[in-house]
Each structure stands twice: as structure tokens, then as C-alpha cells.
Subunit: 210 residues, 2 copies
């Protein structure tokens, strides 16, 4: 198809598609003349991914390019690639504290949960900042709450990982979008579940069996 | 204690404490002379709350004032008050779509989960936006995933609600801070649980029993 048909198919202005081509977020089409190129389904799929990364996921063009490079070249060490792809997503990692033990709260929490602790993985800094904020507000996460949240989210992680495509390019794409796009879904569902639980309690329904 | 001791206790500059007093985010002390006032533990606690709302929670002064008014005057209908307090937190609700059915994806999702649907509760608009974003990225939430996330987050909500203080002022404060401050903890824990699950899989550990 021509660029105008591609743009229509993706629901984007032609100028935007040209911008993505210039920025090399979208691969070139097959030249059919000096001034025209043909595009196919692979371009439609790519546009959907680029649009998600620059839209709901909220990346800059430079950050999107980093993620797309990992989708295109997942390399041999898929685990490291997935980690790098997630690291490119917001929020940006907070700077470490004391060099000998940069993330003490996160380290202790992961130790309690029996999970791997890798200070180079940005979510560790993210957890440290979140735990410190709760603490300074006078609402530190109790050991009981940490254990409960940790168990529940390990359950979610197993569910997510079991559905990861085996093909490496698709695995990176699934991981990036599944992390960034499903996070807002989970937060909204938690707030709605609070509301639902509060309504049931007010109505005097019996609590669910745990 | 004097204002200087209060500021020191809260770890804030005196100018910041004075600003909170002027903005009526902090209640006045007891006048001890024409130019001095005495402050107590209630001021220290309040400063911790104000600092959390304006800092990690990310509210504007006007939004913080709305939340604090609900903490101070929870009223008779605690359920409505908690809803209003959570509604003051980011993200701001997206505008509704078609007036006859403004949030069709969220309505269908909550119907599937057997949860209350109240279009006036901002988390409904939040869920609608998140589901629409996932859909347009070509990664719609499957019925199976929705059921799984919904079950897990109802479990979290029951846990959270069971620990809500009975005293109304404290209940509003717990709900606001527990919503806003524990959300980043949960997101970081999910990312870390993904990493942990991926490491275990690469090592060839058996999957956990579901």
C-alpha cells in the first residue's frame, strides 16, 4: 500500500508517518519509483507500537528508539534485554544513596520476600523511593502488608510471564506494553475494588473467605 | 513548643511552616503572647500529612486543602467522604464519552467482575482510559487477565480495608495516603516480581503451584 493508505489504516496523519520514517522509528517501505514506496502489514503493526510508546506509555522519541532497538535486536540474552527494555520506561530511576548499600529498604524488602535483589535494575530504586515516601508520611509498609502485596504481585507476575510469547521480538514488545499499559489498569482496579469492598461492608455483606 | 521547635521536629524550614499556616493547611497554635504561639503533637502530625500530600502524593495546595477538609470533617457518610478524598488524588478523571454510556469498557469490566459500577467515581474513568489505551496498542485486556487481576486486587482491597482505622478522621487519612503512597510500592513490586519470575524460569526452577 502507499503511504496515504498506511496512514489511513493506522489512523494517523501522513505527516506523522513521515516524521516517524525520518526519525527511523518506522522502517522504510520498498521503493516502487524514485518518489514512492510500498508499505505492508509490518508497517501497520509497527505504527501501532510506536503510537503506544509515544502516547499512553509516555516515552520521548529518544526513549522510544531505545525500546524499539531492543524489540528489533533482542540478542541472545533475552533476560538482559527485557530488563533493559523495562528500564527505559517511566518512572526514571532515583539516584542511589550510600554507595555501599544504595537501596537499604528495597534490599531488606526483597530479602524478606525471598526475591532476587539486583541494584542495577531500576525498579529497585523505584521501590526504595516508594518505601521511603510511605515511611516519611508516617505510614511505613508493615512486614505483614509487604508479605501480602509481595505474594499477590508474584501471582500476577507468574500469570503475566506464562503468557509471554516465545518469539524474542514479540517477547520484548509484550513485556514493554504489558508493563506500561497494564499498570494503570491495575491501579484503577485497586481503587474500584476498595470502593466495592467498602460498599459491601456498609451493606453488611459477610466478608469473603480468605 | 515554639514554631522553631515545631519546624525542627518536622524537618522543615520555619518559612515553610509559616506558609502552611497562612494557607490554612496547618491549624493555628495557642497564642501565648501577641507575637508567639505554642504548638503541640497535633501540629507535628499534621505537618507530616501536609508534607506527604504536597510531596510524594503530588497534590497542589488547593487539592491538599480539599483532602484536609475531608480529614477534618468526615461527616456522617464516611463512604461518600472516602470516595471524595480518593477522587482528589491524581490522575485526574478523563472526560466521559457518550452521555448515555460514558464508560462502556469499564462498565463491562466491572460487570464481568461482579463489582459496583458508579460512573461518578473517577477511578471508573481511569479504568476506561487504561482499557482503551491497551486496546489501541493492540494489547486488549483478555477476559482471563481481567478476571485474574480483578481477583488479586479484590484480595488486596480486602486486606487494606480490614486495616482501616475505625475513627473517621484517621480513616480518611489512611485511605488517602494508603491509596497514593502504596500504589508506587505495588507497581515496583510487580516489576520486581517479573524479574524474579524470569530469573527462576531461566534457572529452570519448577513453576510455583497455583
Amino acid at each position: 500500500m502507499r503511504i496515504s493508505a498506511l496512514a489511513a489504516e493506522a489512523g494517523l496523519p501522513v505527516a506523522t508517518v513521515k516524521f516517524y520514517l525520518r526519525e527511523r522509528l518506522l522502517h522504510a517501505g520498498t521503493a516502487t519509483s524514485a518518489t514512492q514506496a510500498a508499505y505492508d502489514e509490518s508497517h501497520v503493526r509497527r505504527l501501532r507500537l510506536v503510537r503506544a510508546l509515544l502516547g499512553p506509555v509516555g516515552l520521548t522519541v529518544q526513549q522510544a528508539r531505545t525500546v524499539l532497538a531492543l524489540v528489533d535486536e533482542p540478542g541472545d540474552d533475552l533476560y538482559a534485554t527485557l530488563g533493559r527494555a523495562v528500564s527505559a520506561l517511566p518512572p526514571a530511576a532515583a539516584p542511589p544513596g550510600d554507595a555501599s548499600d544504595p537501596f537499604p529498604r528495597a534490599r531488606a524488602a526483597l530479602d524478606t520476600l525471598g526475591q532476587v535483589y539486583d541494584p542495577d535494575f531500576p525498579a529497585v530504586a523505584q521501590l526504595e523511593g516508594a518505601l521511603a515516601a510511605a515511611e516519611s508520611a508516617g505510614m511505613p509498609i508493615s512486614a505483614e502488608r509487604l508479605a501480602h502485596y509481595g505474594r499477590v504481585l508474584s501471582d500476577v507476575a507468574e500469570f503475566d510471564l506464562a503468557r509471554m510469547p516465545g518469539e524474542p521480538h514479540a517477547a520484548v514488545e509484550y513485556t514493554v506494553l504489558g508493563t506500561a499499559l497494564y499498570e494503570p489498569v491495575m491501579l484503577a482496579l485497586r481503587r474500584l475494588a476498595h470502593q466495592d469492598a467498602a460498599v459491601r461492608r456498609l451493606r453488611g455483606d459477610p466478608p469473603p473467605v480468605e
